[in-house]
């Protein structure tokens, strides 16, 4: 669908854990709390990828999660952006080159935003989300 001006005021995110140690999840939850309050930007977590615009992936992609990550990515309607939170997704992190992984995230799905950190601070995660929003607008050419 063509993004409209309402994309400035709402970006719905779906969180996918592809085998993380849960540290990045705790920071994402902290980022949603009223202290940092992303909901004033219209950003909220949704329960189904079919409602989402943004896919937040944490963790390195373990073998069992690769198929499911591909399916969830395919179920998100266009236009979509993918954000990878934590160094595990960027390069494998502490699990670099492990026997259990199917590669870092960008070997499986195309990633637009990387948020490094182990775990990254909530401010960094929010910064990544805002950059994702800007990238979405730039991709589709929506006037801010």
């Amino acid at each position: 669908m063509k993004p409209t001006r309402s994309f400035n005021e709402s970006l719905w995110a779906f969180h996918f854990n592809s085998g993380s140690c849960n540290g990045c999840e705790i920071e994402i939850v902290a980022a949603i709390t009223p202290r940092y309050d992303p909901e004033r930007f219209g950003i909220k977590l949704v329960g189904s990828p079919k409602h989402a615009d943004l896919l937040i992936i944490t963790g390195p992609v373990v073998k069992k999660m690769k198929d499911r990550l591909l399916r969830v990515y395919a179920q998100i309607p266009d236009p979509k952006v993918v954000m990878c939170v934590g160094t595990c997704g960027i390069s494998g992190g502490v699990f670099y080159d492990s026997y259990n992984l199917d590669g870092p995230v960008d070997d499986v799905v195309p990633v637009d935003i990387y948020v490094p950190g182990c775990p990254p601070r909530p401010e960094a995660i929010l910064h990544g989300v805002v950059k994702a929003l800007a990238k979405l607008e730039r991709i589709e050419g929506v006037k801010p």
């Binding site: 669908m1 499911r68 399916r71 395919a74 179920q75």
Partner: protein, 115 residues
Amino acid sequence: MGIFSSLLSGSGAWNPLVWLLAFVVAVIIVYLIWSRGEKSYKKGTEQTTPFISGNKEPSKDAVHVRGGNLYWGYTEALKGYYERIVPLHSGDMNDYVLWYLGTTALILVIVVVLS
């Protein structure tokens, strides 16, 4: 015309042609709303399958709910009633005849004795 007039009861009227007209209008409105939906999804890919936490959708005949299992909640909720009524339909002919004779006797008492 006579053939298209309404059915009248003492307190109301029913005309199925008016109903059909209303139904057609409703279908048209529904179609107009449906046609404003999102058309740009990719058919036949994963975008049309249900979201089951990323798992593959099982084949349809593995998840078809058979007839006897529908309305389980209803029969469970009314278990007190069903536990009393279903055994009465025992299949035993003696019971059937007794029910018939008993009902005849009851109606006899009500009509003949009590009036």
